[in-house]
């Protein structure tokens, strides 16, 4: 499975958020961290894969399928996104209802939806939260539940936007080990270098909407001058 950006340019409110961005993410290399300072374009890049912004120039391909409004549904069935703001993602009343939302929209029969919901919650160690109110969970719980909502759709690719931004160190470690147990290909936007080291064999560094560097995390994350240039150290 391959995700490729070819000279993709995306404007947001007149500003160029992605600027002739070119990169290839290959699932066979393992999870990839998307690193960059604030405003580098990480969130825009992830959201663009799901067709949330019009692509002004260039193309984005999921294998052979270009990201276009016509293909949006097919792509969103294969790619799931865990938003940075968990409150924007969790909107049903109970946790179980929220996790069931995606599979229900996939048109699956109720028994299958139920089975997937239970499964996803179990794999996120959140079965005990099933009947809880989504607005009254801790940040760590919210993160695991929103991830469960995506897992229940069984996507091939999972995009995570700053998954650790509101987690304490222990919740970060737990999330890292949960992510490593998942079969789906992951792209993780973050500026948490320790988390990136823990979860991703690959990494890509963005700067001002362009790709600054990409390759093995073990090499790039040790390159102090590169990190400094990217505003990460």
């Amino acid at each position: 499975m391959k995700l490729s950006f070819q000279n993709a340019t995306i404007q947001r409110d007149g500003l160029t958020a992605l600027d002739q961005f070119t990169a290839v993410f290959d699932s066979s290399n393992g999870a990839c961290a998307i690193l960059g300072a604030n405003g580098a374009g990480k969130s825009t890049m992830l959201a663009a894969i799901l067709g949330l912004f019009p692509i002004a120039e260039g193309t984005i391909l999921l294998d052979e399928t270009p990201v276009t409004p016509q293909n949006a549904r097919a792509i969103r069935a294969r790619v799931g996104m865990v938003f940075q703001d968990a409150d924007a993602q969790l909107f049903n009343q109970s946790v179980a209802e929220d996790v069931a939302f995606g599979p229900t929209n996939l048109g699956l029969p109720p028994e299958e939806v139920q089975a997937r919901t239970t499964d996803a919650l179990r794999s996120m160690r959140a079965e005990h939260l099933a009947q809880r109110d989504v607005t009254r969970l801790s940040c760590g719980e919210k993160r695991r539940v929103s991830l469960a909502g995506i897992l229940a759709m069984r996507p091939e690719v999972i995009l995570l936007d700053e998954p650790t931004s509101d987690l304490d160190p222990r919740a970060c470690r737990e999330l890292a080990s949960l992510l490593q147990s998942l079969p789906a290909f992951q792209l993780i936007a973050t500026h948490d270098l320790a988390f990136a080291r823990r979860t991703c064999p690959q990494c890509a560094i963005l700067q001002k909407g362009k790709l600054l560097a990409s390759g093995k995390a073990s090499e790039l994350l040790e390159n102090q001058s590169l990190l400094e240039e990217a505003g990460l150290a």
Binding site: A47, L50, L52, A72, R73, R76, A77, G80, M81, F83, D85, D87, A88, Q89, F91, N92, Q93, S94, E97, F101, G102, T104, N105, L106, P110, D133, T135, R136, G149, I150, M153
Partner: protein
């Protein structure tokens, strides 16, 4: 539960905050049907028929108590609607002072009777809706409405409105709290600031609403596609629904 903002949030969160009891496990369609029947019958009482109205208004509380939903909880919610009714009813007391015979030796001014009737109807209908809301989530109610062939766009609007209102009120509460923290000495918020606060709350809620809609689309939500129908009620549930509606009609027309 002192200020109107907290009240509004509490009402929208009825389902989360309430004990669900055995009614929580009943499928949504029977509950929606019985509640609608109750509402229609409750408002159909004549203006001056206070006794019948009062007895009928007690039904949700009795039924709630049987199903382990505290009558106090229902009463507290229902009484939130009372100020509006009292305003209208009290004004009417002044206009309508012609005595009406209630019992052989008791005559009460028409306006007072109407007021009592209104209060009973309010306490009855609001508690019935609260009972439904306490035991049925908005998702389930939407599903029930879909199976009653309510058009999908209307149901989706209802769901989104519900979420949007909750967000708006919560944003407003955050802004008000932040205001009080920085203005510890002043007690109320001056009228001239309310315009800004409300506008800000709507803008922020709008932004969050957008983010939520984005996230919903990413999970393949499509407002144009029909919503999934809920599982069909079992035959026991169907039978109980028919009996409950018949019982309501019976009580409506054979109560004193």
């Amino acid at each position: 539960m002192s200020n109107p903002l907290d009240n509004a949030i509490a009402v929208l969160r009825t389902h989360q905050d309430a004990e669900h009891g055995p009614l929580g496990a009943v499928s949504p369609l029977p509950k929606v049907l019985v509640t609608f029947s109750y509402l229609l019958l409750a408002v159909s009482f004549r203006m001056h028929d206070v006794l019948g109205t009062a007895l009928f208004a007690a039904l949700p509380y009795v039924f709630g108590a049987i199903c382990r939903i505290s009558p106090w909880f229902l009463l507290k919610r229902a009484s939130l609607a009372l100020p509006f009714v009292l305003c209208a009813g009290l004004a009417n007391c002044w206009f309508d002072r012609v005595p009406v015979a209630v019992l052989p030796h008791l005559a009460i001014p028409g306006g007072v009777l109407v007021l009592l009737g209104l209060v009973c109807k309010t306490l009855g209908t609001v508690s019935a809706v609260t009972l439904l809301a306490a035991t049925t989530s908005i998702t389930q109610i939407s599903a029930a409405l879909t199976s009653l062939h309510v058009p999908c766009p209307i149901v989706v609007q209802l769901q989104l409105l519900f979420r949007y209102l909750l967000l708006t009120f919560e944003e407003m509460r955050t802004i008000v709290t932040a205001y009080h923290l920085r203005a510890a000495s002043s007690r109320g918020i001056p009228l001239r600031h309310w315009g800004t606060i409300v506008t800000r709350a709507f803008l922020r809620a709008g932004n969050r609403g957008n983010a939520i809609y984005f996230a919903m689309q990413c999970r393949l939500f499509d407002a144009r596609r029909p919503l999934p129908k809920p599982a069909r009620p079992s035959w026991q549930e169907s039978l109980a629904t028919v009996l409950a509606i018949l019982a309501l009609v019976g009580l409506r027309y054979f109560l004193p």
